[in-house]
């Protein structure tokens, strides 16, 4: 870090305005759907309206005869060449997985599955003709409810004989990381406290703003695919592996990508179909989904039932936690599939020193849209459950929820700390973050106001919600993910190139879609090489430009990809040193590098890195045996994950007469290690917070009893608007991470992971004195009102959002709700 600290104007830590913005605010953008190629054909998908059905016949004659239609393709037509979509994370050796053809061949397993593809000269012609494809279905019983699915009464895939995909267990007693949870719980039943709760993680839709789009050009020697994807490198690998195309013949480009949130961490049927048909037809093809198609067919997130048992001594010291999960995979195992709930397995113990822990997860197949990563992926579920039940423990003890947390959390002097789940947390300071958050929040004053409102019987009650979260991110050490049967590595790669004019090109294997890598990585390289920020160009998202990488997800870009950039830049300096010494006629040992210049110690002689780059480009006078390049590569594979944490506090006002909710205040103090660009960090936190708040209050993918997604448009799926949200107060404490030299931790998912329980805890806190101890998410006014009026018993309210087409029975025909 010497170079960084000595640099005259340090870039790291500056709130640099983003390099990306000039293009984006002027419309000079390259979204995949903007791409038009000569002779390009357009695809339209014919999708199943049924959740589960046998395909009896498909009549494509009328569609084929329609204006400007080139061909219509069914699953049977391409059965031998379309391959099957990959699941890259078989969580157990005996995992049950249905085969997933991109175009269904003889049976559909969810509403929205593709059964035929129309290829036409324009998108409008293709869509018109798709209406003419006549598919005869023989409807089969569909399994839609997660708990019923686990009972195997109706099968999502009859040929598999079960809906149960995999059963995955972690037990601290068996792993040697802690005691036996069952024994501790049994003990607590006799002389301590046992809290048992069941929580629902509703189904959510990532709902990135840019609909997915894919273009394939087969006319070159390398087939090029442009896709609105988070994972161009992974996609290229899997297209090659599944379709048998040599990887060297494939180029995948993620141009401007409009958001992902895990939703574009997928290899999709549409991408495979576009590749297969472009090769077949020898012409470029494009497919861009409509929003309605996106909501029904792009993967969903969450969808779990969580059963928790927490035992404690009478003073509130937790003795064990037991977690039993049911996780809905939907109709097929997606790219990461069952791995998503497993990402939560290591996080239920959170910031606490639990002595015993047992986690078991049953993944289940249903006839719904497949599920996969959605911002936080497994960790929001874990954080929600533990932060909710710690509040329940506090209520049982009659103490402030912060007090019970403090009693159980890892103290700052105890780091590094190996948890009951077997992870070593490298750094953190929960006391400091909590102290700062309380101060920002005005915790004591708000508690006093809450008391006043309770005592006066104010119809609008105030609740305070707490979430002292941690998470694991920076996915990931390859060795660790290998032990978890993850089908890929976790390293990342960077190249730093010095051009002849002394400018710097940085190639990164991580692939942004809104995060601001170009800005942040430029800041890092500017400090490292001592060059101006504007002289650095960051290139990404194209396998031909940046050949190696594992892309962007799991808050990994900076802590893994950024560290690779650091190492590549440092290698440039190492390579430059003997050349500088040669040109300065000095010994390399006498050289210092600082502020972009090599100087001879004790003299005023020196040479700048840009000047050196030009000298190397000319190569007229290099030392013997030295290559004429400063360009350097580095691959970084971290030894450990990173563990951001923070304390989030939320104040909610609940109108007890109507159930309506108002967010009064939200503050958070996150420890994400060292910060490269505080402006970008703030943006990540704000956006993350709203996605987590939206799970608590608004969003839910709702299916009707026949398996139709009724929240299948933006009219029905309730994304928050500016009018629904508030401004936030955020701050940071800093415990640098020890896993990378920058000392950074991930921040992309932190806000989403932390905020959901803070909001629900606040709502429950506002009405707990009315006998409520839980309200199922999303906490709609209707649910809040019902919980308040359920005879003082509280508990989860039932029924999901209002049905779309059945006004006679509002709220009663949903597939949701706890089973009696």
């Amino acid at each position: 870090m010497t170079a960084v600290q000595d640099a005259p104007t340090q870039e790291i830590g500056r709130d640099r305005r983003r390099k990306e913005d000039q293009r984006l605010i002027t419309g000079r953008t390259r979204w995949t759907d903007n791409i038009t190629l000569p002779g390009m054909l357009h695809l339209a998908m014919v999708r199943s309206p049924f959740a589960h059905a046998r395909i009896v016949s498909i009549d494509t004659e009328a569609a084929k005869a329609a204006t400007n239609v080139v061909t219509v393709v069914t699953g049977a037509d391409v059965a031998d060449e379309q391959g099957a979509l990959p699941n890259a994370w078989p969580i157990t050796a005996d995992q049950v997985a249905p085969s997933h053809p991109p175009i269904a061949v003889d049976r559909v397993a969810f509403a929205g599955e593709i059964v035929a593809v129309v290829v036409a000269r324009s998108a409008a012609d293709a869509r018109d003709a798709a209406e003419l494809v006549d598919v005869e279905y023989d409807e089969l019983p569909a399994v839609l409810d997660l708990k019923s699915a686990a009972d195997d009464e109706t099968l999502a895939h009859p040929d598999l004989g079960t809906n149960k995909s995999a059963y995955w267990v972690f037990d601290s007693g068996e792993a040697g990381t802690g005691g036996n949870a069952d024994k501790a719980i049994e003990q607590a039943r006799a002389d301590g406290i046992v809290i048992e709760r069941e929580y629902r993680q509703q189904r959510l839709i990532p709902a990135f703003m840019e609909p997915r789009s894919v273009v394939v050009d087969p006319t070159g020697e390398q087939i090029t695919m442009w896709s609105a994807t988070q994972i161009p490198h992974v996609l290229r690998f899997l297209l090659a592996a599944v379709l048998g195309i040599p990887e060297s013949k494939l180029r995948v480009v993620a141009p401007d990508v409009g958001g992902g949130f895990g939703g574009k961490l997928q290899t999709t049927p549409e991408e495979f179909i576009a590749m297969v048909l472009a090769r077949r037809l020898g012409k470029p093809v494009k497919y861009t989904e409509t929003r309605s198609e996106s909501l029904v067919s792009a993967h969903h997130g969450r969808d779990q039932w969580q059963k928790l048992t927490l035992s404690a001594e009478k003073d509130g010291t937790v003795t064990a936690l037991k977690v039993e999960l049911l996780a809905d995979m939907g109709a097929y195992l997606s790219l990461l599939g069952g791995g998503i709930p497993i990402l939560g397995a290591f996080m239920y113990n959170a910031i606490y020193k639990f002595p015993a822990y047992h986690f078991a997860c049953q993944t289940v197949l249903t006839n719904k849209t497949w599920t996969d990563a959605y911002r936080g992926a497994g960790r929001p579920e874990a954080t929600f459950a533990i932060e909710r039940i710690m509040d329940e423990l506090a209520a049982e003890l009659g103490v402030d929820p912060l007090e019970v947390r403090e009693k159980n959390w890892i103290r700052h002097e105890e780091f590094p700390f190996t948890t009951v789940a077997g992870l070593e947390y490298d750094s953190g300071n929960y006391e400091a973050a909590t102290e700062r958050a309380k101060e920002m929040f005005g915790y004591d004053e708000l508690r006093a106001e809450q008391r006043r409102r309770r005592e006066s019987g104010d119809p609008v009650q105030l609740g305070i919600g707490i979430s002292t979260f941690t998470e694991m991110c920076g996915w990931a050490p390859s060795k660790l993910v290998g032990q978890l049967s993850y089908g890929a590595g976790g390293w990342d790669h960077a190249t730093v190139r010095m051009t002849g004019t002394g400018k710097v090109e940085v190639l990164t294997g991580v692939s942004p879609h809104g995060q601001g890598h170009e800005t942040a990585f430029s800041q890092i390289v500017a400090d490292r090489l001592g060059v101006p920020f504007d002289d650095v160009e960051v290139l990404h998202g194209d396998t031909q430009v940046s050949a190696r990488g594992y892309d962007t997800y799991g808050s990994r870009s900076l802590v893994v990809g950024g560290e690779a950039v650091v190492r590549a830049a440092d290698k440039v300096v190492e390579k430059a040193k003997p050349i500088a010494a040669h040109l300065l006629e000095a010994s390399p040992d006498d050289l210092e590098f600082s502020g972009g210049r090599f100087t001879v110690r004790g003299t005023d002689q020196g040479i700048g890195i840009a000047e050196l780059a030009t000298a190397v480009f000319a190569a007229h006078n290099l030392p013997a045996g030295v290559e004429a390049t400063l360009d350097s590569d580095a691959t970084f594979d971290p030894d450990a994950l990173s563990f951001p944490h923070g304390t989030h506090l939320c104040a909610m006002e609940v109108d007890t007469e109507t159930g309506s909710l108002t967010m009064r205040k939200y503050v958070c103090c996150d420890d994400i290690g060292n910060i490269i660009n505080p402006l970008i960090v703030a943006g990540q936190v704000h956006g993350g917070l709203v996605q987590g708040i939206a799970q608590a209050l608004w969003e839910e993918a709702v299916y009707d009893e026949s398996g139709t997604l009724v929240s299948g448009s933006f009219v029905d799926y309730l994304l928050p608007t500016a009018a629904d949200t508030i401004s936030f107060e955020i701050d940071h404490t800093t415990s640098p991470s020890t896993t990378n030299t920058l000392g950074t931790k991930g921040v992309g998912e932190a806000g989403t992971i932390a905020s959901t329980p803070a909001v629900v805890n606040a709502i429950v806190d506002a009405v707990r004195h009315l006998g409520v101890n839980d309200i199922q998410m999303p906490c709609t006014p209707e649910r809040v009102w019902k919980a308040i009026r359920s005879g003082g018993k509280g508990g989860a309210t039932e029924g999901a959002a209002m049905p779309h087409f059945d006004p006679s029975e509002p709220g009663s025909d949903s597939t949701e709700g706890a089973r009696e």
Partner: protein, 156 residues
């Protein structure tokens, strides 16, 4: 096919279009004005917002033939002589965008809001942007950007 003529970002254009063609499709497919984007199919997201005769419209909600004879301004026509519009500048200054997909519509709507109300309160800004969805920013910095633009006198 129907013949239409309009001014788009200061240039006169004329084409034969299908009567069912949406203004946003005309802008993107016929004129190559791909700065304006499509984010949904129900007029909820506002990503396609442009100005039609000086007022903001969702261009997915206007037929191209309805814009016949009109003056259309898109995100691509805002900057003049290399100078960003103050609202564009404000979005960059306040980090009011991340992925940038909603941004063209968000900027066009913000300009319309400020034209109508040069000094809006936070609540007025939030209500004025209600028809434009953003999934990245949580709206926090978008609101700040509009406040910044108002302070800088964007509407003048």
């Amino acid at each position: 096919m129907t013949r239409i003529t309009m001014t788009v970002d200061g240039a006169q254009v004329s084409d034969d279009v299908e009567p069912r063609m949406l203004l946003v499709q005309y802008l993107r497919e016929k004129l190559g004005k791909t700065g304006t984007v499509i984010g949904c199919d129900t007029s909820n997201c506002g990503a396609c917002t442009v100005h039609l005769d000086g007022r903001s419209v969702k261009s997915c909600n206007v037929l191209a033939v309805q814009a016949d004879g009109a003056e259309v301004t898109t995100i691509e026509g805002l900057a003049t002589d290399g100078q960003l519009h103050p609202v564009q500048e404000a979005f960059r200054e306040c980090h009011g965008l991340q992925c940038g997909f909603c941004t063209p519509g968000m900027i066009m709507q913000s300009i319309d809001l400020l034209n109508e109300n040069p000094h809006p309160t936070e609540e007025e800004i939030r209500l004025g942007l209600e028809g434009n969805l953003c999934r990245c920013t949580g709206y926090h910095n978008i609101v700040k950007a509009v406040q910044y633009a108002a302070r800088e006198g964007a509407s003048s």
